[in-house]
């Protein structure tokens, strides 16, 4: 626990640490400068410096750490899942379905990815695993039409939660983003307060492009929250810090594996400590 003076070299090391966690250059340098203002020239251990940084990060993240809650007044409470290809939308739907089922809720899933090969079958497996009916249409079918049908069925069957899966799409592909906007419009035709949650799924390994993903998906689908997946690898997901500052969207949950139980609430302090490389007590 040797102490060392917080000098330019030490600050550069810290900035580097934040950059390698994907915080981005501007957030990393802003945080390092705050640290410099407060502690420059003072003797401080490496552990303590990281603690202070984790404190700053927790302050930024704590206001957006909010669990996903189902409003029983909505019948159904509609959750739309969106995001770029392969981020983990379908898997996250399966994991959330499990959690809602454990809370005693009835859940229906809609296989709105009518494009990718075997995307419907993938969601059907999750439906079987979690005991939820799955509304489907054929490959190449109309995604908005399917969403409309799912809304009708979910209302008729009086389910608590309807989760609508969508095909992965990159935010710069305007024709695909227009299709997403159409899905939202069709949902609103049946319930103008829906979707009650429009979630973007972000892959922790994604770099600075994630910020643009949140921006564009927000414009098109009026996002209400974020889920980050794949935090069981070595990627730290530091873009969430910049996302929290720029958009203030709630971060609901994080994915830590491929299994049905591998979804955790987003904990600002654990996340912040991991970002700066500090030990965290096992939450599991």
């Amino acid at each position: 626990f040797t102490k060392r003076r917080l000098d330019d070299a030490a600050l550069e090391e810290l900035e580097d640490l934040l950059i390698t966690s994907d915080l981005g250059v501007s957030v990393a340098s802003k945080l390092t400068q705050s640290l410099a203002r407060e502690r420059f020239g003072k003797e401080i251990s490496a552990e303590d410096v990281r603690g202070v940084l984790a404190g700053y990060l927790t302050e930024i993240l704590a206001p957006v750490a909010k669990p996903l809650t189902i409003d029983p007044a909505h019948r159904p409470h509609v959750i739309l899942m969106a995001g770029v290809n392969g981020a983990g939308k379908t898997t996250t739907i399966g994991k959330l379905a499990q959690q809602f089922r454990e809370q005693g809720k009835s859940v229906m899933l809609a296989a709105g990815d009518t494009f990718r090969a075997a995307a419907v079958e993938q969601l059907q497996v999750w439906g079987e695993r979690t005991g939820c009916p799955v509304v489907t249409t054929r490959l190449g079918g109309d995604a908005a039409g399917l969403a409309f049908e799912a809304m009708t069925r979910a209302k008729a069957e009086n389910v608590d939660v309807l989760m609508i899966d969508t095909a992965g799409r990159l935010q710069n592909r305007t024709e695909l983003m227009e299709e997403l906007a159409k899905i939202v419009r069709v949902i609103r035709k049946q319930d103008e307060t829906a979707p009650h949650d429009a979630l973007i799924v972000l892959d922790a390994s994604t770099g600075q492009n994630a910020i643009n993903q949140v921006k564009v998906f927000s414009e098109v689908a009026q996002l209400t929250g974020i889920v980050m997946t794949k935090l069981d690898g070595s990627a730290k997901g530091g873009v969430l810090v910049a996302a929290a500052e720029q958009f203030g969207l709630p971060i609901h949950a994080v994915g830590v594996g491929e299994g049905v139980e591998d979804l955790r609430p987003f904990d600002a302090e654990i996340f912040a400590r991991t970002l700066v490389g500090l030990e965290v007590e096992d939450a599991a």
Partner: protein, 305 residues
């Protein structure tokens, strides 16, 4: 979005009117901007540092040509060095498709596709199979060794039907290594040239899953082991590429989702840390959306040119 390097450098060099040779302080002022530009393009920090060291050495003392500004001169030096690090030369043409993969060996030869979850392995498997079938007149068999993700084997089967490439019949409950062996045996008996082996997504930190793919590799002795990685990957690109190369041994990289608006810095990171070439890039979801890697284009994109 982020500023391009030329925008950044124009600020630095506005103050600088003189011609002649680039001084050390000119170069270090410019390199601060280059560092930020590369980091914003998601080039991994250790790679950025090496790059800057290398390019600074070349730039200091460089004569600024009459026809250009010092800023343009630095951009040219940076651009050329990026192209070289990406494995190209400024006037390189995309290689013909038969040159993108090296399939030399007694047929059937195996191509093993590996990578993180959701990186684009299954889609890229089908794209490459289609390309080899149509452009190179190879007889290709595809097999999915993904026994874990729901409907993963069905996904490859559907893609096979869409592109007219045979897939190994699915037998549920079989282990990855056994499927690999069955694929090689079937290909031998039925006279296929190439067996494309799609594998389950895995984290490089998951020892059990890494052991599984190593066992497959040992069984089939692939002529190519391709790491499929997302072009939108951030700083983790170096860790992932190095881990897959150290543990499994890769022969090249396929970068998926280059149709996104990411800057593609992961290409430089992965190339720099493994020394293995980027072979192909994915440019869409459809089976035709794959192209040879072109160093010049990616270098320009990283710099926002």
């Amino acid at each position: 979005m982020f500023e391009s390097l030329s925008d950044r450098l124009s600020g630095v060099f506005d103050k600088l009117k003189k011609r002649g040779a680039l001084s050390e302080s000119d170069v270090s002022a410019a390199m601060r901007e280059v560092r930020v530009a590369l980091l914003e393009a998601d080039v991994a920090l250790p790679v950025v540092k090496d790059f800057i060291k290398q390019v600074s050495g070349k730039a200091v003392g460089h004569n600024v040509l009459k026809s250009v500004t010092p800023g343009q001169q630095v951009i040219k030096i940076v651009h050329d060095e990026l192209i070289a690090m990406l494995g190209g030369s400024a006037d390189q043409e995309p290689p013909a498709s038969s040159e993108t993969l090296s399939l030399i060996g007694v047929p059937p030869v195996a191509v093993l596709m590996v990578g993180l979850q959701g990186s684009g392995k299954t889609t890229s498997t089908a794209k490459i199979a289609k390309r080899l079938t149509e452009k190179d007149r190879k007889r290709v068999l595809m097999a999915s060794l993904d026994t874990r993700r729901p409907a993963a084997q069905e996904q490859l089967q559907v893609l096979g039907e869409q592109i007219g490439v045979k897939t190994l019949p699915i037998i549920k409950g079989q282990m990855a290594t056994d499927i690999a062996k069955r694929a090689m045996d079937a290909a031998r008996l039925q006279g296929f040239d190439v067996v494309m082996l799609d594998t389950a997504g895995r984290m490089h930190v998951d020892a059990a899953l890494m052991a599984e793919v190593i066992a497959v590799r040992d069984r089939v002795q692939p002529v190519e082991t391709l790491l499929v990685a997302d072009a939108l990957t951030g700083q983790d690109a170096v860790t992932v590429a190095k881990a897959f190369d150290d543990q499994v041994g890769i022969t090249g990289v396929v970068l998926s989702r280059m149709d996104g608006d990411g800057r593609g810095g992961a290409a430089l990171s992965m190339r720099a840390v493994t020394g293995k070439p980027i072979r192909l890039i994915g440019t869409g979801e459809k089976p035709d959306a794959i192209e040879p890697f072109h160093a010049t284009r990616i270098a320009g994109r990283i710099l926002g040119m």
